[in-house]
């Protein structure tokens, strides 16, 4: 089977192209997805290929075009709505929470909302406080949604397919730090199983649980730890709602130590839920408290050195890993 080197961005684009080609009901809409070619060039070329009805530029009206996506999904289309970045998704949150996530239940199971909402997320490019949010964890709080965060090129390629097969709304978070990442991808790469977290590295001494933009950082930290004789297992959550408890717990039950890495602000981030669950379920397997490395609780500052200090980094992850294996138990 042949393989090609592809970037995360290209993988997302191919997944979109394939979805559009496969199913007439699929269309993409959002700000600058068409003529501009996509803010992060993900949808570049698709307008030429599929035309303006299916690659639909919208006005700056996040609430309306997300709501329109919900409406179109209700009427059995398969809309893919792109919110340029998670930062602007706040303007559409009512439509997501009180609409997309809730209609199936409120209608007693009558109205499905097969909607996929993609958004770029994350900090790290000196875009400052209003353009650097990591709010995936927030969305993972909402019943009725599936929340996914591809961290690898293969997942960027495969997750959209699976998301489009979901009869319920799926939020897909693309970390801006990953767009340029490249990897080999088999030519027939396709749908991936969204129900399971993935072991990205095996190790006996501790489990690092992470997702999205923190996967490469966690893997780098694991390498650094390995150089010091500490073998970290790395679990990539992939789906943030619902969480795959089994994979997490199975790993931690083996390593007896868990470190959760999350680009969200520490208090109330997804890391808290993961930590709470681990101790709830396998408290007596733990040799040490579940530790966390998250973003500092500060609106992300512009200055480079401050932004770097505010976010999880391979160094801070490795340091927390070392402290964890040194902890009593």
């Amino acid at each position: 089977m042949s393989a090609r080197r592809q970037s995360y961005r290209e993988a997302l684009r191919e997944a979109l192209r394939e979805a559009l080609a496969r199913d007439e009901r699929v269309f993409l809409m959002g700000e600058d997805v068409g003529r501009y070619g996509g803010t992060y060039a993900v949808s570049k070329g698709l307008l030429e290929e599929f035309g303006p009805e299916r690659i639909r530029d919208t006005p700056l009206s996040e609430s309306a075009f997300v709501g329109a996506g919900v409406g179109a999904a209700l009427a059995d289309m398969r809309p893919i709505v792109e919110i340029m970045t998670v930062n602007f998704s706040l303007l559409a949150l009512d439509q997501i929470l009180n609409g997309a996530a809730t209609l199936l239940h409120m209608s007693g199971g009558q109205f499905h909302v097969p909607l996929v909402i993609r958004m770029a997320t994350g900090a790290g490019r000196q875009l400052a406080a209003q353009h650097s949010h990591s709010l995936e964890g927030w969305y993972a709080h909402i019943p009725g949604l599936r929340v996914i965060a591809p961290a690898t090129v293969a997942d960027a390629r495969g997750m959209l397919w699976t998301a489009l097969e979901d009869p319920d709304p799926v939020l897909l978070f693309e970390h801006t730090g990953l767009f340029a990442v490249e990897d080999e991808l088999p030519d027939d790469a396709g749908a991936v199983d969204l129900d399971r977290a993935a072991l990205r590295r095996t190790g006996r001494d501790l489990t690092i649980v992470c997702y999205g933009g923190c996967l490469p950082k966690s893997l780098a930290a694991a390498e650094a730890l390995a150089a010091q004789g500490v073998e970290a297992e790395v679990v990539d959550l992939r789906t943030l709602r619902p969480l795959d408890d089994e994979t997490i717990l199975e790993s931690v039950a083996r390593t007896h130590r868990a470190l959760v890495v999350d680009e969200g602000w520490r208090s109330g981030s997804l890391s808290a839920e993961v930590a709470a669950r681990i101790q709830e379920r396998i408290f007596f397997e733990l040799d040490a408290p579940v530790a966390r490395v998250c973003s500092a609780e500060v609106p992300i500052p512009y200055a480079r050195h401050l932004e770097l200090a505010a976010l999880p980094q391979p160094e801070s992850i490795a340091a927390a890993g070392l402290a964890l294996v040194g902890a009593r138990g």
Partner: protein, 338 residues
């Protein structure tokens, strides 16, 4: 309909036809009596939560619904019992819903504010002011893309929603993309206790439509024949031209906003003044004047309606409660049907 048509003269009973008028009267009365009963049942704590009555405003739903086809879509607000009923949702299912029963049109999960019905393409029942407009645009977009030419989405909302950003965004989107949505603004002058003049710098709401280049009309929402006439033209225009249209219907709610409202914000006299325009006796009187309605007919009609309501209450009373073990159903779709 031209851009911002003037208030059209309402047709009279003769022009509309006796059958149609009687049907309109029946529709309004069914809604009125149903809601009066709901208020009672609320007092008896059979119905709970929020309950918003449209008593006084029946001409709106009654005048618009007859023009919609089975494949059209309807989006409404939390004040939507009449809309659901006249769209064709059974009174049984509506009543059972307010009783929180499985037999309710939303299985008892939604209640008064969230009536839904797939069979009649009734997309709710939305308790977020302005929340339904974008949804309506999306339904119409789906019809455009499918394509299902000639399908209309009717979207009802109160004048209070006009202040929401959601209104602006959806109106622009519908006009920009020429989506076949009929926006029906039920201007009953108040949003809870806030008079329109305290909510809008310019209270002529068709001026908003004009800002989007959307055709619009002003209609006397207390005269069901006027509503029926204007809505007929409007629906036809949306259907034929596949473009949105904005109807402002001037109406009034006779009752409190909800069951908790002490109505401090308006004078009793104002309410009484508006009650003189009650669309139901008004049409009844016109019909009587033409000899098309009399005491006997009225008694029959009231009896029929009372029976329908009694049946609905009986139906709801013996309805089933969803087993508590099923609490988590319908959060996500069931992949293998149970």
């Amino acid at each position: 309909m031209p851009e911002r048509a003037a208030v059209p003269a309402a047709p009279d009973v003769r022009q509309v036809g006796r059958e149609t008028c009687l049907a309109l009267l029946t529709d309004m009365l069914r809604v009125r009596r149903l809601e009066e009963r709901c208020a009672q049942l609320y007092g008896e704590q059979k119905i709970r939560g929020f309950l918003h009555l449209a008593i006084g405003e029946e001409a709106v739903a009654a005048g618009v619904m007859p023009h919609l086809r089975a494949d059209d879509n309807v989006v409404a607000t939390y004040r939507e019992h009449g809309h659901a009923l006249l769209r064709g949702v059974s009174m049984n299912a509506i009543m059972a819903e307010m009783y929180g029963r499985v037999e309710g049109c939303s299985r008892g999960r939604g209640g008064s504010m969230h009536l839904f019905d797939r069979a009649t393409r009734f997309y709710g029942g939305n308790a977020i002011v302005g929340g339904g407009l974008a949804l309506a645009a999306g339904l119409a977009l789906a019809d455009r893309l499918a394509p299902r030419p000639g399908v209309v989405t009717a979207c009802f909302f109160g004048e209070g929603a006009v202040a929401e950003g959601a209104f602006h965004e959806a109106m622009n989107l519908a006009a920009l993309w020429q989506l076949p949505v009929l926006f029906v603004c039920e201007n009953n002058l108040y949003a809870m206790g806030t008079a329109l003049s305290r909510s809008q710098s310019r209270i002529d709401l068709t001026a908003k439509a004009a800002a989007y280049g959307m055709p619009s009309a002003n209609v006397n929402g207390m005269n069901v024949l006027a509503v029926h006439d204007a809505a007929g033209q409007a629906v036809a225009q949306v259907r034929e031209r596949s473009q949105p249209l904005f109807l402002e219907l001037h109406t009034y709610r006779f009752r409190a906003h909800s069951m908790f409202d002490p109505e401090l914000y308006r004078e009793r006299a104002e309410v009484e003044e508006w009650k003189k325009q009650d669309p139901i006796p008004r049409l009844a009187a016109e019909l009587r004047a033409r000899g098309a309605f009399d005491d006997a007919a009225e008694a029959r009609l009231e009896a029929d309606v009372a029976q329908e309501i009694a049946d609905a209450v009986a139906f709801a009373e013996v309805g089933t409660l969803e087993p508590v073990e099923d609490l988590l159903r319908f959060v996500t779709s069931e992949r293998t049907p149970r």
